[in-house]
C-alpha cells in the first residue's frame, strides 16, 4: 500500500497530477497578466493625428429576424456613411456590426461586447425601444455615446442618462400628430387601438388612447403578441364592433400586412392606421393590395424629395439597391458619431468621454433628413416632427 500513498495521501500519480495543475494555474495567470498588460498599453495613448490607429464605431441593429426590413437599411446606410466619411477625411474608421434579431437581452449583451473593445468610441443604436431600454445601463457604465436611429419611446431619454441620443422625435410627438389626424382629418368616432405588447407599441398606444378619449372619441383597446399570425377571430370581433379607424402601433410590418389581409377577407371597412413600424416594403408587398389606402406616420420625411439628399441616395442605390425609410436616420446618426470623433481627435483628446461631449455639442445646420441636428439636454433631437404617409397605388405617398 505504501507504493500508492505518500504522506499527502495523493499517491505518486496524484503528485504528478497536482504538479500539472499548479503549473497550469500559474501559466494561465501569467498569460492573463501578459494580456492585461498589453491591452492597457494600447488603450489610451491616442492623440491628435491618432485617427491612423484603430478607431471603430459599433452598430447594434435587428439585421436578421423579423425586423430585418428595419435593421438592414440601417446597417447599409451606416456602412455608406462610414465609407463616405473615410473617403472625404482620409481616415480608416471601422464599423463593427452586431445583430440583435430584435431581442432586448441580446442588445444588452452586444453592448457589453462592444464596450469591451477599447477601440469602439460610439455606438449607433439600438433600434427598438425595448432594446435601448436593456442596453442603456450597460452603455452608461462605460460612458459611451449611444445614438439611436429609430427608438421613439419617450421615457428612454427621461431616465437621467447623459449618453443616450436619438435623431428621431419621440412618441409624445408622434402620438398627438396621429391622434389629431385620426380625430380631425379622418373624423373618426370609434377607434380600435391594438397594441403589440412591446414597449414601443404599448407606449404609443397609451398616448393616442388618452388623447382620443379626451376628445370624446370612443376607443376600444385590444392587445396581441408579436408572434400572433392569425388575426381572424380578432377581425371577426372587430367587424361586429364596426370601428371607423383601426390603429396599430406595431413593430412588425408583416403582421400589419397580415391583419390588413384578414380585414379585407372579412370585409371590414375600417381605415387602417399604423405607427412608424409599418413604413417598410413588407406592409405593402405582403398584403396583396389589402393595405391600399392605409396610413402610417414616420419620423423622417420622404428623403427622395429632399434635393440635398440626392447624391447620397444615388450612391446608396448603386451599392445597396432600394432605399428603406429606416435607413436615412441611421446615416444621420452615424455621421453625428463620426464628426464627433473627428472633432474630439482634433482637439487632442480622443476618448469615449470626449466623443460623448462632442456628440452632445453637435450643431449640424443640415442633414440628410432636411433638418438641422442639435440635441437637447436629454439627448433628443431638437425640432423634429412626424410625417404622415398613405399607401396609394402600392407606394407610400406623403400626405400633408
Amino acid at each position: 500500500m505504501d507504493r500508492w500513498m505518500d504522506r499527502s495521501g495523493r499517491g505518486s500519480r496524484g503528485v504528478a497530477q497536482f504538479r500539472m495543475q499548479v503549473a497550469l494555474v500559474v501559466s494561465t495567470v501569467l498569460l492573463l497578466a501578459a494580456c492585461g498588460a498589453s491591452e492597457s498599453s494600447t488603450g489610451t495613448s491616442e492623440s491628435a493625428p491618432a485617427l491612423r490607429t484603430s478607431v471603430k464605431i459599433g452598430i447594434i441593429a435587428p439585421i436578421t429576424g423579423e425586423a430585418t426590413t428595419v435593421g438592414t437599411p440601417q446597417l447599409n446606410f451606416a456602412r455608406l456613411a462610414v465609407e463616405q466619411f473615410n473617403a472625404v477625411h482620409g481616415t480608416n474608421i471601422e464599423l463593427v456590426e452586431t445583430d440583435t434579431e430584435l431581442d432586448a437581452a441580446r442588445a444588452a449583451t452586444l453592448t457589453q461586447r462592444l464596450v469591451e473593445d477599447p477601440a469602439v468610441y460610439a455606438i449607433i443604436g439600438p433600434s427598438g425601444s425595448q432594446e435601448v431600454a436593456a442596453a442603456l445601463p450597460v452603455g452608461a457604465e462605460a460612458g459611451i455615446a449611444m445614438i439611436s436611429p429609430s427608438a421613439t419611446r419617450p421615457d428612454l431619454s427621461e431616465q437621467g442618462y447623459n449618453h443616450f441620443f436619438r435623431v428621431v422625435p419621440r412618441d409624445d410627438v408622434q402620438g398627438p400628430t396621429l391622434a389629431t389626424f385620426i380625430a380631425d382629418e379622418l373624423g373618426a368616432n370609434k377607434v380600435w387601438i391594438i397594441d403589440d405588447q412591446s414597449s414601443y407599441g404599448t407606449g404609443l398606444a397609451d398616448v393616442v388612447d388618452q388623447l382620443l378619449q379626451s376628445w370624446n372619441v370612443v376607443v376600444v383597446r385590444e392587445s396581441v403578441g408579436q408572434d400572433v399570425t392569425d388575426f381572424s377571430a380578432l377581425v371577426t370581433r372587430m367587424r361586429a364592433d364596426a370601428p371607423d379607424v383601426v390603429f396599430i402601433p406595431w413593430q412588425l410590418a408583416a403582421n400589419g400586412a397580415q391583419l390588413a389581409r384578414q380585414m379585407d377577407e372579412q370585409d371590414v371597412a375600417a381605415t387602417l392606421f399604423g405607427g412608424d413600424g409599418m413604413l417598410t416594403e413588407e406592409f405593402i408587398a405582403d398584403a396583396a393590395g389589402a393595405t391600399e389606402g392605409a396610413y402610417a406616420t414616420f419620423f423622417a420625411p420622404d428623403t427622395t424629395m429632399i434635393e440635398a439628399a440626392a447624391p447620397v441616395l444615388a450612391a446608396y442605390r448603386e451599392q445597396y439597391g432600394e432605399i428603406g425609410p429606416f435607413g436615412p436616420p441611421a446615416y444621420v446618426a452615424t455621421m453625428v458619431a463620426l464628426e464627433a470623433i473627428e472633432r474630439a481627435a482634433r482637439s487632442g483628446e480622443l476618448s469615449r468621454a470626449s466623443v460623448l461631449a462632442e456628440v452632445a455639442a453637435t450643431e449640424q445646420p443640415n442633414s440628410l433628413l432636411g433638418i438641422p441636428v442639435a440635441f437637447d439636454a436629454r439627448g433628443d433631437i431638437e425640432g423634429a416632427t412626424f410625417f404622415l404617409f398613405q399607401v396609394r397605388d402600392g407606394q407610400f405617398v406623403p400626405v400633408s
Binding site: 385590444e222 377571430a233 371577426t236 370581433r237 377577407e265 370585409d267
Partner: protein, 312 residues
C-alpha cells in the same frame, strides 16, 4: 355579439383542422411507441417551407405570377405543394425515427423524449441557417383568389379557408379509412394495443413504426402547407407554437386515440376563436389551456381517451 358566431365558427374550424392534423401525428406515434414526439412541430415547419419552395418555383417559372402564363392550373400547383410537402415531411419523420428514436427503443422512456427535443432544436436551427430568421411570405393570392368568398349567414368563407377545412377533412377521412379498413391499419392498431404481443404473432413491428411515422409526419407536412397558405407566412419557429397546440389538442382529445385527436383539434380551434371573439385576444391562450386542465380533471384520459389498465 351573437352575429360573430358564424364567422367565429369558420375561424375555429380552420384552426381546428390544422390542429387536428398535427394532433393526429402526435397520437399515432404515441399509440405505437408511447413516445411524445416533440420534433413533430418542426416536421410541420419543414413541410411548410417545402410548400413555400414549390410555390416559389412555380411562380418564378411564370415570372412571378400564376396568371401570366400558367404552366399548371392553380389547383394543380396547390396539389403539388401538398404532395411535395407530405412526401418530404414523411421521409423526414422516417429518418428521425431511424436516427433518433430506434437506437433508444430499449432505453428508459425519458431518453427518446429528450432526444425528440434535441431533434426539434436541430431542425429549427438547420432551417434557420439555410433560410435565415426572416419570415417568408406565401403569396396565396397567386393561386387562390383573395376574394371574400361565399357568404354563409353572416360568415365569409374565403376560398383559402374552404381549402383548409376541406383538405383537413379529406386527409382525416383518408387516414381513418386507412386505419380501419386496410391491413396496414389493422397491424398498426395491433401494435398500438400491445407491441410485444403483435411481435409474437409475426407482425413486423419496425415496419409498422416506420409506416406510422411516415403517415403522421406526412399529415404534419400537409398541415404546414395549409397553414402557410392560410396565414401567408412561414418561419423557422412556427413549429414550436403549432406543435404545442397540436400536442395540447392530442392530449385534450385523448392521447393515443385518433378520433380523439380530431375532436381535440376541433375543440381547441373553436375554443381559441370563441375566446378571442367573445372575451379578448389576450385571453385566448388562457382559455385554451384552462379548458385543457378542466377536461383532464374531469376525464384524465382526455375526451375520447381510454384509461387502459394492464390485464394480468
Amino acid at each position: 355579439m351573437v352575429e360573430q358566431l358564424p364567422q367565429q365558427l369558420v375561424n375555429g374550424l380552420t384552426l381546428g383542422g390544422l390542429y387536428a392534423l398535427l394532433a393526429l401525428g402526435y397520437s399515432m406515434v404515441y399509440g405505437v411507441l408511447r413516445l411524445l414526439n416533440f420534433a413533430h412541430g418542426d416536421v410541420f415547419m419543414v413541410g411548410a417551407f417545402v410548400g413555400h419552395g414549390v410555390l416559389a418555383l412555380f411562380l418564378a417559372e411564370n415570372g412571378g405570377s400564376a396568371e401570366a402564363a400558367p404552366m399548371l392550373p392553380p389547383w394543380a400547383i396547390i396539389a403539388a405543394m401538398l404532395l411535395a410537402a407530405m412526401l418530404v415531411s414523411g421521409l423526414l419523420g422516417v429518418v428521425i425515427e431511424l436516427v433518433a428514436y430506434r437506437p433508444l427503443r430499449a432505453a428508459p422512456r425519458l431518453s427518446p423524449l429528450l432526444g425528440s427535443l434535441g431533434v426539434s432544436f436541430f431542425l429549427q436551427n438547420v432551417v434557420l441557417l439555410i433560410a435565415s430568421a426572416r419570415p417568408r411570405a406565401i403569396a396565396t393570392e397567386q393561386v387562390l383568389s383573395p376574394s371574400t368568398g361565399l357568404n354563409f349567414g353572416g360568415a365569409q368563407l374565403a376560398p383559402v379557408r374552404l381549402l383548409v377545412i376541406l383538405a383537413a377533412l379529406a386527409l382525416m377521412l383518408a387516414l381513418h379509412a386507412l386505419v380501419q379498413r386496410t391491413r396496414f391499419g389493422r397491424v398498426m392498431r395491433a401494435v398500438a394495443v400491445d407491441r410485444d404481443a403483435a411481435a409474437m404473432v409475426g407482425v413486423d413491428v419496425d415496419r409498422v413504426i416506420v409506416g406510422t411515422f411516415f403517415l403522421g409526419s406526412a399529415l404534419a407536412g400537409a398541415a404546414g402547407v395549409l397553414m402557410g397558405l392560410a396565414f401567408n407566412r412561414v418561419w423557422h419557429l412556427m413549429g414550436f407554437t403549432a406543435g404545442l397546440k397540436g400536442f395540447t389538442a392530442a392530449v385534450l382529445g385523448g392521447i393515443g386515440s385518433m378520433p380523439g385527436a380530431m375532436v381535440g383539434g376541433l375543440v381547441l380551434g373553436l375554443a381559441e376563436s370563441f375566446a378571442t371573439g367573445f372575451i379578448s385576444p389576450t385571453y385566448k391562450d388562457l382559455v385554451a389551456f384552462a379548458l385543457l386542465i378542466l377536461v383532464l380533471l374531469l376525464r384524465p384520459a382526455g375526451l375520447l381517451g381510454r384509461t387502459t389498465r394492464p390485464k394480468v
